[in-house]
């Protein structure tokens, strides 16, 4: 179990509002995520889960809001932040190898003119080993399976040696073995004191994977320790009537029709 240190806040968001075509996608988000947790961002489709991550990283313009990473503005802390985008966000037919994609994670550190050399390739190879892909380092990325592509993206973020990681649906469209492997890697990172912020869509696994939760539907419905947030009332509030949940620990069993 991770140690919660209330004095150290990995991510702090104030008043974040994002709108798209005059429609609010995220409304007045206030959020503090402690360091050293595995945090899940959960909510229905269109709740703004991916948009939240993207606006934090400056990929989507926000109307207002302040983002602090470990107490300083994000813009000054880029090197401490790693990002694993959705696998579908790039064209995998790009002519390059798995190792080369992982090496890209080091481009920020290398600065404008320096090129990746033997040291960088070695680090990339180590990151591939961590995700169990070292044998496929020279494989064309177009020939990798979906799960393997996801692991390459994970390795690219790992090689950054960041303190806070944002992952956008890393478990989407991968098989059970890969999901297991990814979760194991994330847990190891958390145990090493890193903070992981993961957009997740599968409610069944939320309780087993995360120790901290944000329940999102345009606004923050609830946030805090997973056991306090993952409650039927909160879920109903976030998902409306469209929820059917099975959980054998508590008797949280109800069907969509029973919820008004």
């Amino acid at each position: 179990m991770a140690i919660f240190n209330p004095t150290d806040t990995a991510l702090s968001i104030k008043n974040l509002t994002v709108s798209y075509h005059n429609q609010p996608v995220l409304w007045d988000i206030d959020l503090d995520i402690p360091a050293g947790v595995m945090a899940g961002i959960v909510g229905p489709n269109g709740a703004g889960k991916s948009t939240l991550i993207k606006s934090l990283l400056g990929l989507v313009p926000s109307l207002s809001g302040e983002v602090m990473v470990h107490g300083r503005p994000y813009a000054t802390q880029r090197k401490r932040v790693g990002y694993v985008p959705q696998r579908s966000s790039v064209d995998w037919d790009f002519p390059t190898t798995a190792l080369d994609v992982v090496t890209m994670g080091l481009y920020g550190r290398l600065g404008w003119l320096k090129r990746p050399g033997r040291k960088e390739r070695h680090e990339a190879q180590e990151a591939l080993e961590m995700v169990g892909m070292s044998a496929l380092a020279e494989r064309q990325i177009s020939q990798l399976s979906g799960g393997q592509q996801q692991r390459v993206f994970l390795a690219r973020a790992l090689v950054q040696q960041a303190d806070v990681y944002f992952l956008d649906e890393p478990m989407a469209g991968v098989d059970a073995t890969t999901e297991r492997a990814i979760i194991d890697i994330l847990r190891r990172l958390r145990d090493a004191g890193k903070t992981l912020i993961v957009v997740h869509h599968d409610l069944q696994t939320v309780r087993t994977y995360f120790d901290w939760l944000l329940l999102l539907n345009v606004r923050v419905i609830a946030s805090g320790k997973a056991e306090e947030v993952f409650k039927i009332d909160h879920l109903r509030q976030a998902y409306g009537g469209q929820i059917a949940l099975l959980n054998d620990n508590e008797s949280l069993m109800f069907s969509a029709s029973k919820v008004k």
Binding site: P95, V101, M104, W112
Partner: protein, 368 residues
């Protein structure tokens, strides 16, 4: 003797050097355009160069290449910018915005062109050559300008290689690393405009897009790395430029630009068909190999499983050809004397039985 004469010909030298320079710049930059799914942007920029060419002529009163380059760069970039703005600000999709920009700018260009022709200015002669290019009119001084543009562009690419590569592959991730992606993307687009400008004299505004797309498309088939793709694309560009120019000169009178484009297209077709791994032919061969391997496994499996029960007829299993092939490979025997009507006398040899057991083991491992 013909070749020696040809090589010492001043015009031919100019055309070949010009065509090579064009291949050298359009190939590598085309790779970025194609990988960023902006191959048609080159088309828009090149069509939009025409009003620039005409405006520069109206202002300066001459066909000076410097003025023409500046003019075409301005209108070409304006078209690209308007296109990007249309897609950002309106609900128009990229293809519609691109089509609109391309045709409007080109129409303005044609109107200006006919206006200049109507003024009967003596020095305007051959301005319409920019539509399809007029390689033979290339001057030594033009080559210097083309060469410098090519050199500077390729140097810039070499220096900012990392940035160009990452922005092309995954722009959002590049931004999280702190790269100024707007600047890099704009520079890449500007470089495509420069490549277009280099090609105006050789192949003209209408066909220039082919020189952006074709070498890159051919190179993608043969390459496993971005660097390799750029090198091959440059090679394809140079080869098609030089051979197009040569064919045109030898045939006396066939247009150079279109011949260059046709040569490049031929290389694309060959690459699409034959390239190892990605080529169509390769795919067909692989398909038939897999099919035949599967048929063989099925036959061996069935013969092995049902050998104890001759009433389960192997004759229903499939083609006689495959049976004969397997016999040749030593997996099957045929004893005409013991032939029953149902099984045709086919039986597994010891080698065949071993192979069948291997197939079954592999199959069961896969299933578990």
């Amino acid at each position: 003797m013909v070749w020696l004469e040809l090589l010492s010909d001043y015009t031919f030298q100019n055309v070949v050097i010009g065509a090579s320079l064009l291949g050298l710049i359009s190939g590598p930059l085309g790779c970025f355009a194609v990988l960023r799914r902006q191959s048609l942007l080159g088309d828009a920029i090149s069509h939009a160069a025409l009003p620039g060419i005409c405006l520069s002529f109206i202002i300066t009163g001459s066909r000076d290449i410097g003025g023409i380059i500046i003019g075409s760069l301005i209108t070409g970039s304006a078209a690209a910018l308007i296109m990007l703005m249309l897609t950002r600000l309106s609900r128009l999709k990229t293809d519609a915005a691109l089509g609109a920009c391309l045709s409007i700018f080109f129409a303005v260009g044609i109107v200006l062109l006919t206006y200049i022709q109507s003024t009967n200015n003596a020095s305007q002669g051959g301005l319409e050559a920019f539509l399809f290019g007029q390689a033979a009119a290339t001057l030594r001084s033009d080559l210097w300008v083309m060469g410098s543009i090519t050199l500077v562009t390729l140097l810039l690419l070499a220096v900012f290689w990392k940035q160009a590569k990452l922005v092309t592959f995954d722009a959002e991730y590049a931004r999280t690393l702190g790269m100024p992606i707007t600047v890099i993307e704009a520079s890449l687009t500007a470089m495509v405009a420069l490549a277009v400008v280099v090609g105006l004299q050789m192949v003209g505004v209408i066909l220039m897009a082919a020189m952006i797309v074709a070498p890159a498309a051919a190179a993608r088939q043969w390459s496993r790395h971005l660097g390799g793709m750029l090198t091959i694309a440059a090679g394809v560009g140079i080869v098609s430029g030089v051979s197009g120019a040569t064919i045109s000169t030898l045939s006396r009178g066939l247009a150079t630009g279109p011949l260059i484009v046709l040569t490049a297209t031929a290389i694309v077709l060959i690459s699409l068909a034959l390239a190892p791994g990605r080529g169509l032919l390769w795919g067909v061969i692989k398909h038939y190999r897999q099919k035949s391997a599967l048929q063989k496994q099925q036959l061996l499996y069935a013969l092995y499983k049902h050998s104890a029960d001759p009433s389960c007829a192997p004759s229903t299993l499939g083609s006689r050809r495959m049976l004969n092939k397997l016999k040749q490979q030593g997996y099957l025997t045929r004893s005409p004397r013991g032939a029953t009507p149902s099984d045709g006398g086919w039986g597994l040899t010891a080698q065949g039985q071993a192979e069948a057991r291997r197939v079954i083991a592999a199959f069961e491992e896969l299933a578990s």
